[in-house]
Symmetry: C3
Subunit: 311 residues, 3 copies
């Protein structure tokens, strides 16, 4: 029996573990064991609110028989007046005897810092502009479920590739474990994928292509992963944000673009969306962004099982 | 076995269903079945905080064996930066496999919009200046418990009738199902009941009388439903608010006014109050506003049973 | 079988009860009975956020089989617009059938006011600059565990003694029940212990000494209770705060000061800390401030047992 010691970075997983996570998630989809985590307690420690991610983890825990304590207000630990370090907060919470800590932190590297001081395994639920590894896992799982494989696919990442941590984590996984796919980086000038990720993909021999012409490549795609321009990461530079918004609007998925896609394409989005996927697209069976959310529940159940009772 | 498909508007209920809710609430008062909702999960999704209403629903759920995930911070879904629609948020939460969603929304019509996109039944826990139907049900239930009937009663609604959604929902119910009662609309000029409700009562043949002279009608009343002037609905028009406050202070329930009331009158209030019912009145047995809160717990238990396991 | 009727003030406990709390906490450390509080529900009612204290109580409750409803946002009860009194809020929550209320209030005396109107026992989790009695209990318990006794010890309270409610509550307990110890009040001019506490210690015959020279007394100490200068209590008087900070920095616990202490000394802190205990000290076995947090969990379990099922 192995135990998974938390989830901090996308890069921590070998391919066998990723496949194991998917296998357990699949089992969970067929049959949720309602008492598996009886007696276990999770702390949701969110330094910025994220109802979406928090609910996903908490429901995974509750459905498996575990219990939850929760705050969306963890930032008061480190308020100006009190000035506690993340490390002290994590050590304190460990003293209460929690079994796992789901941490959303507002700065890059939070999960890694927390892990050093925590007996309870840490699950990184997003650390500022850093990583969001469980999102990347559920994204991969969704691709695999939709296409039946994770090889030889043409995958377009579209929109705000400069600021989206989900597309960054996804590229890590694809490069390291599934390099036979081809990645299209589709974005305007303002929000291009940064070079560290491109170098990483090069290193692992994953072919990628950068373009701002979605229309041209649309017919060949197996997966379109659309993203929102993240206003909150533009540091109030509204001119740049407006330019990015205008440029990405040309990349929006519309009823018109649906006509040029394969029948088997999967249209994904980490959500929330604005209108980079038009609402009229939702009812099309190729739209799988809500199925993607659903898959996330089972990926998180699988991770909680692997961390709390082993595999 | 029938299932109640959520609670969105006061008008959705036929009389038989209302009576059924009351019957089940009564049973619950005698005997709370602690495992009735085992395995069921409620999401409390509050776009504005309301500890009172949220606790009432969550305790109803927990006491029946169900589980809860909860946020008072749901507005971050639709923050300026992220811009998600209510509809997308509701669809997302549905993907996590919740069994029922209790929704407090900050704009009228939220519950109805949510219901269209939700597999899980929606319970409207207040939608801005719109409705608060479970409050109206517990109000009616309280009147029935106190007077032993819902017919032939003289019921005064007092105070801020323009902005109080509880009195509006109550009028709907009375008009549609219990038109043999008489409703006194007692308010100053600034906060009169709006004409849509008056028209609705006329349509169903419910007799009503509008006055600003509470003292005159006091001896004949069976129920006095007092309300608070809702400062937060005056849009910072402090002059108008101050006038309303001054005018309604003449309608306050005091030790003096108690002397003019029937011994059997029930004094109600949806709470919170300021001092439109003086604190000295609390110990009088005719004061039933805290009993009203207690009744709310059982009405919400009854609704959760009818929604989650049927009736 | 006796029932503890809440925890409002440090002074409420006789010595036998304090010793009983410690004995039950010790039992809990050896064996947590996971179903002891089945069917019981706690309400966490926090008028200001305190994730630390809230989690400690909620985990104590969950680990003993109880359930929790929770808000860090209770202040909206009494917002400008709604204006509800604490008393009405407490009476309302009682109507929902909770078994115990953990109250953090933003003004002194909150717990006492709440208790008058509450059928459910109140646990004071801090009331502004007033008391925090469960913290004092866990502090005493920690001293007893570390030194094996609560008699004849030299105990230094260091830092911000003017604003720290934990040191105030601790002095009450020591004076009333354990007057054979000696208390050193070590602080700069700006943050001296107030005279009410000094008078209380005099009244009970507890010897105390006031100094700003920690170094001089360091070799004789059995317990050093370090505290943070509480910026939030200085009412934006930043000059005074800066002076206090500078003065207390001379009292910081460093690797250097460790050398002058007994091998058996226990270094405590109510946390959060800034750097009045240097991080390099953490790994020293004499540093027991995280053990102190751990002890708090069991003290709170003991109190919940005594309140909810008796002793």
């Amino acid at each position: 029996m192995k135990m998974l010691n938390g989830v901090v970075r996308a890069q921590q997983f070998d391919k066998a573990t990723v496949e194991k996570i998917f296998a357990i998630a699949k089992e969970m989809e067929n049959n949720v064991p309602p008492d598996l985590l009886n007696g276990k307690i999770m702390a949701s420690l969110f330094y910025e609110p994220s109802t979406r991610t928090r609910f996903s983890f908490e429901l995974a825990m509750l459905k498996l028989g575990g219990k939850v304590v929760s705050t969306e207000n963890a930032r008061e630990f480190s308020s100006a007046a009190k000035g506690e370090t993340l490390e002290d907060s994590i050590r304190t919470i460990n003293q209460y005897g929690v079994d796992v800590i789901v941490l959303r932190y507002n700065k890059k590297g939070g999960a890694k810092r927390a892990q050093k001081f925590s007996k309870a395994p840490i699950i990184n639920a997003g650390d500022g502009p850093g990583q969001h590894p469980t999102q990347a896992l559920l994204d991969l799982y969704t691709i695999k479920k939709h296409q039946g494989k994770l090889e030889g696919l043409n995958i377009a990442l579209v929109g705000d590739l400069a600021n989206g941590r989900t597309v960054r984590s996804l590229c890590y996984f694809l490069a390291k474990h599934y390099p036979s796919n081809v990645v299209y980086l589709v974005s305007p000038e303002q929000t291009k994928m940064k070079s560290d990720i491109k170098n990483y993909m090069d290193k692992y021999g994953l072919a990628w292509n950068e373009t701002d012409n979605l229309e041209f490549i649309l017919p060949r795609l197996d997966i379109i992963y659309q993203t929102r321009v993240q206003k909150e990461r533009f540091n109030k530079n509204t001119t740049l944000y407006d330019q990015a918004l205008e440029a990405t609007d040309k990349l929006a998925i519309t009823d018109e673009s649906l006509k040029q896609m394969k029948e088997t394409v999967g249209i994904m989005h980490p959500l929330p969306r604005n209108d980079e996927i038009r609402y009229s697209v939702d009812k099309n069976p190729r739209a799988i962004y809500f199925a993607q959310v659903h898959n996330g529940l089972f990926i998180r159940m699988a991770l909680l099982k692997m961390i709390l009772v082993g595999y």
